[in-house]
Structures are given as C-alpha cells and as structure tokens.
Amino acid sequence: MKAQNRRNAALAALVIGAALIAIGYVVGLPPVVFVGALFTAGCAALLQGEHRSLTIVAGMLTATALLPVIVLIQPFSTFSSQNLWIDGFSIAGIFVLLALGLNIVVGLSGLLDLGYAAFYAIGSYTFAFAASSFTGLDFPFWPMLIAGAISAAVFGILLGAPTLRLRGDYLAIVTLGFGEIVPIVILNSSKYTLGPNGIGGISRPEIFGFEFPIQNPWPFYLAMVGIVTITMILIYRLQDSRLGRAWMAIREDELAAASSGVNTVTTKLLAFALGASTAGLAGVFAASKLSVVTPNLFRFDVSFTVLAMVVLGGMGNIWGVAIGAFVLYTIQSVILKQLNQFFAAADVPFLSSIDFIEYQFLLYGIALVAMMLLRPEGLFPSIRRKRELHVDDAGEGPTTTADAMGAAPQ
C-alpha cells in the first residue's frame, strides 16, 4: 500500500472509530464501542512507525474507550463496579506518569534514580501550597500542573547539577539519600508543611467553572488520559530528537558519547530534570485527586514500586513502561486484594492463609531478579535496548562491553 493510501485509510478508521465509540457511549451499547475501538486500533496499527503522535492518540483512544467497557465483562465485573474501576484507572494513571518519567532517567539515559518519589512529593506539595486552605491560596489546577512540573524540575537540577558528574552507581545512592531526606524534611518542618498531619482540603480541578465531582470518576479519568497522552507524545518526540539520541548514546557508552561531541553533563541533567518534571506533574494530579498530602505517601516504597514497573515493563520502551505500570498497579491494588478476600471467603485450605498483599514486595523482588537474569529487556522491550542487553549472546567478546550505567570500561 502506498503511504498516501495508508494514511487516508488510517484517517478514515480513526474518524469512524471515534464516532462509533461516541455513539456507543451515548446510547450505552458496549458492542458499538468495541467495534469503534477496533477501528481506532486499526488506525494505530496502520500508522505504526510512521506517524508517532497520531499512533499514540489512536492507541490511547482505543484503550480509553475499551477499558470502561472491558470491566463490565466477567471476571472483571466481579471485582468491583465500573465507577470504581474507572477511579482505579485514574490512580493507575498516576503511576503510568511516574513510570514514564522514571523511564527517561533509567531507561533512556541509563541513570539509576532510587529516590524518584521525592520529585513526586515536591509536585504534590507545590499544589498543596498553591491551592489549599493552609496557605489560603487557590490557584487553578491546570496552570499548576505546569508549575508543579517546573518546581520538581528545579529540584531535579539542584540535585543533579553537582551529582551527575559522578559515576552512575554513586548517583543511585545520592538519589536514594535524597529520597529519604525529602520526606524527613517535610515531616519535621511542621511550620511550613504541617508536618505529619499533612495538608488537607486541597482544591479539585475545574473546567469552565465545573468542579470535578468527588464521586463521579469520569472527569479525573478523562483528564488523566489527556495528560498521559500528551506526556507520551512529548516523550516520544524527545526520544527521537537529537537529545534523545544523546541520552541513548550516553546509556550505551558515555565515553564514546563524550568523544563524539555530546555534552554529557548537560544531557544527563536534562534527562534528570525532565524525569523529575513528569513526577511533579503526577504529584499535582495526585494531590488534587486525593485532596490531602502527607509525607507518608512518598516513602521509598513508591520509588521502588515505580522502578519495578519500569524494569518489568521494559526499560527504554515507552509503551512497554506505560503498560507495565498500568498492569502492575491494577494487579497490586485490585486483583491481589480481591484474591485475599476471594480465598478467605471460599476458605481454600492453603491459599486462604496466604496474604497476597503481604507478599507484594517478595513478588517484586523475585520478578526483578528473574527479569534481570532471564529477560533484562523487560516484558515489552524496545528493539534497541534488547540488542544492547543481549550483546553477549551475539558475540562472545571480551568483558568490556558497553556499560549502560555509563561507567567507562576498565
């Protein structure tokens, strides 16, 4: 098929699909939504590799339309009602954003950040200061999304500027330390942060004077879908830009990258700042959704959960990471919880005594080790990353392979 024809077909599929989805929702006919989603999915497939941004839009449209319908089907419908699934999806979206941001740092640039939750906290508190009764301010949500992202990025630069010169694994420790310091500082600066009490009564987003309701999860869901879509498009564009190629060059061999004219410090700093700003974005959204922020929400387990999401999803692959985060969050928050209740209710001898949530981090641990040993490229690898991680299989070279952590070969 010629490119022009394919493009037209894709376009038609998108329009028909969106129309069908719209009709399906208005009339309340899930099958129509399904057919519509098929069209948009077809559009995404047709444009794959050719028109990235539109592929993302079509792909996200498919997912957005399908998810609420899928949860009406067995067995998903037994877990909880549609509204609750939707509510869960918007929280899952927070983790998708976090994973996308961390992926810039870990996946694309090969810098290990173990204190990523700190930037999430900074974004959250930025909005808490800007729109709560604690400060008496009430800035609107949408511009604050950007402000939260910027303030997180500023902290990212402040932390990164002096430390990014270090070897990669030192960076891991510095960020881990930073991730510990931020909640401690928030906790113990009661005068400015209300300390352990946290800041409550944070405003909800508003659109044309319509405030997002507490009980109807749809506005948050749609807003989240919008934010994730835009973020993904931006990250894809970045990845394909000169900067993105510089990131990957640094990841693969920093010394070589530096000698071919890449300014490694600035490049890494940008990765760090952009990763942080995505976390800030997620933080603003989370603060507004939960209406309360407390330091307890940003402990190291958040950083490690997001890291597990990125690793399992496939470092470097934007779709992989997004899907990994989404699936992991859903499993952890809905299915593990329900498994407990299900087995407890059914009184299955052995299984009912197991607390699946209790073993969450054990499962993460096993998954991380198994993943690194067996499939380091993740469940949904990016092609480039896969090639790089399996370099040993290709040719049994000397031990001095390219080092993703950016350390020079010995």
Binding site: V106, G110, L112, L114, P162, T163, L164, R165, L166, R167, G168, D169, Y170, A172, I173, V174, G177, F178, E180, I181, I184, V185, L187, N188, L255, T264, V265, K268, F300, F304, L307, V311, M315, E358, Y359, F361, L362, Y364, G365, I366, A367, L368, V369, M371, M372, L373, P376, E388, L389, D392, T399, T401, A402, D403, A404, M405, G406, A407, A408, Q410
Partner: protein, 343 residues
C-alpha cells in the same frame, strides 16, 4: 575503578609528603573525635563509638565487594539483618538463652559460638547470592546487577518477615546490658565495651588476612586489575566468592552484636543500617577497608552528636546530607584515591 583494596597507612614511605597525605585523614578523624568528645562528653562518646562500630562492620562488606567487582551490593544491609536473626535462632531458639549469662567462661563460649555460626551461615548466604544473582550478570550492563541486588534485598526482607512475623522480636542479651563500669566520669556498659572490642578485633583480623595471606593478595590483585590477575593465575571466581563470604560474614557479626546490644531486632533494620553503612563506606573512600572502618565511626559521631544537641529528628537527614556532600566535593572519600572525574 578504585584500585586499592586496602591501604597500609603506617607503612614507611620514602616520600614524606606522601606519608603525610596518607596520615592526613587519620589526623582529621582524630581531630573530629576530639571535637565530638568535647562537645558531647564521655557518656555520649561511648554511645557513638558503639553504634559506629556496628556501622563500620557493615561498611566493610560494602567496601570489599565494591572494591573487587564495583557493585553496590544493595542486599548487604539485609544480610546484616539476616545475621541478627541467625544469631537469634542459634542463641535463643537452639541454645534456649533468654537473659544474661553471669558465668564468664560459659559466656565466652556462647559468644564465640554465636559469632562463628552466624558468620559462617551468613557468609555462605553471601556466596550463594553472588553465585546465582550477580555472577551471571558480571559482564552485563552495570544497571543489571544493581537491580538484581534490589530484588534480592526485597526477597531477604520478606522471607524473614514471613518466618518471624512483622513485629519486632526480642533477642537474648547474654551480656547483661545493665552491668557497667566507671571510666572518665562516665558509666560504660560492658556490652558497649564488648561491641567495640569485637569490631576492632575483626577489623584487625581482616587487615591481616588481606595483607598477609595468599587469598588476600589475590583479592587485592583482582580489585586492581581483574584481567591481569587472571593472567597471573588468580582464580577470579573463587576470589570473588571469598570476598563475598568475608564481607557477608562481617555483616553477620554486626548482626550478632546488634542483637546483643539492643536486645530487639526486626526485619526492617537492614534498610536504614545498610544505607548508613554505605554512607560510611563512601565517606571513607569506597574500596578502602580502613576508610570504611573510619567512616562507620564518623557516622556514629554525626548521629549521636545530633541527638545530644537536640536535633535527633534531623539525624538521619544529616547522615544522608553528609553522604551527598562527600560525593559532591570529595567523591573518593577520606582515604580513597582521587580519581579522575570519569562519569
């Protein structure tokens, strides 16, 4: 990559400037100790030395592993925690100890047995982890074993939690914690003295081992240049395994003394202690054994000084701030070689 696994500070050197440079950090630590002593008094100073000794023992394992394969062994803090539980299992559950043992010979036998059993078990655990989780990734990108290490630490934590439950568990304090003696106007617990002595003895033994034995020499040469060492006939796998054994065994010893000193352990003690011990290793110059020991004591000083001056809630933040500042301004640490800023 750091090139020296150990430095012999007292070694006579033809170059007086070099000798001075080597001695410099020791003067720094001594001066710091004097300052801290003046600030917080003998009683708190004893507390700082005790907790510092525990950090130092854990830090040794970090520094040895980093020195030899340039891996931050994230699971090391958890190995320390496992050590504390192995010691509880041996002393408490197998030997049925619950409280102080007043009979000195019996006490001595018990303590030494606890050290030996724990150190061997935990050392083997370290070897096992290296064999199955790190060795297959030795030539992989550096990110890979780091992530495996995080995974291993989750696994160790959760396995202990499953066995012993989420609540803290009491350990037998076979050295009576309330028995004290007077020194310089302070009243020091015998258990404090014991912790410090045990740590110092183990460190001296380690120095002797690394400097005087064949295996120790193999370790140093592997740390310096793995390929050259291999060419010279050093069995790299065996040497790395031995390093893991010794490093983990020392963390196990730290677990034993932790249990004896505090009398209570839980599955979460490894994370914080590991982080602080890592800070100690970096502070001293990662890869440098003497440095790690000094670093441990410095962390003890920082923590206790914060507590003694009314900034207890900031103690942790202060330790991590120290870490960041050291990494930024002197990434090689106190005793490490100044490296080029290779990223």
């Amino acid at each position: 990559m750091s090139s020296v696994a150990t430095s012999a500070p007292a070694a006579p050197s033809a170059n007086p400037i070099l000798a001075l440079r080597r001695a410099g950090p020791f003067f720094f630590v001594l001066a710091l100790a004097a300052l801290v002593y003046a600030l917080i008094g003998p009683q708190q100073f004893a507390n700082a030395l005790t907790i510092g000794a525990i950090y130092a023992l854990i830090a040794l394992g970090y520094t040895m592993v980093y020195g030899i394969i340039a891996l931050i062994n994230f699971a090391h803090g958890e190995i320390f925690m496992v050590g504390a539980f192995v010691s509880l299992f041996f002393l408490g559950e197998q030997l049925g100890q619950t409280g102080p043992v007043r009979d000195l010979p019996v006490l001595l036998v018990l303590v030494i047995a606890a050290f030996l059993v724990t150190m061997v078990v935990v050392g083997l655990l370290g070897v096992l982890i290296e064999r199955f989780a790190y060795r297959p990734l030795r030539n992989a990108p550096r990110l890979a074993p780091l992530i495996t290490a995080i995974g291993i630490s989750f696994i160790l934590q959760n396995v202990v939690q499953i066995i012993y439950g989420p609540s803290p568990v009491n350990t037998p304090q076979i050295i009576a914690p309330t028995e004290r003696f007077g020194l310089l106007g302070a009243s020091i617990g015998y258990v404090n003295l014991f912790v410090l002595a045990a740590a110092v003895v183990l460190m001296v033994l380690l120095q002797l081992f690394v400097n005087r034995t064949r295996l120790g020499r193999a370790m140093r040469s592997t740390a310096q240049d793995r390929e050259a060492a291999q060419l010279m006939g050093v069995d790299i796998n065996r040497t790395i395994a031995a390093t893991f054994f010794i490093g983990s065994a020392l963390a196990g010893a730290a677990g034993v003394v932790y249990g004896l000193y505090f009398g209570n352990i839980s599955f979460v003690i490894g994370f914080q202690a590991g982080l602080k011990a890592f800070t100690a290793a970096v502070l001293g110059g990662i890869g440098n054994i003497t440095g790690a020991a000094l670093g441990g004591f410095i962390i003890g000083f920082v923590e206790v000084t914060a507590a003694a001056t009314g900034y207890f809630v900031w103690a942790q933040a202060l330790v991590f701030t120290t870490l960041i500042l050291v990494l930024v301004f002197r990434p090689a640490g106190l005793l490490g070689q100044q490296l080029g800023e290779r990223a």
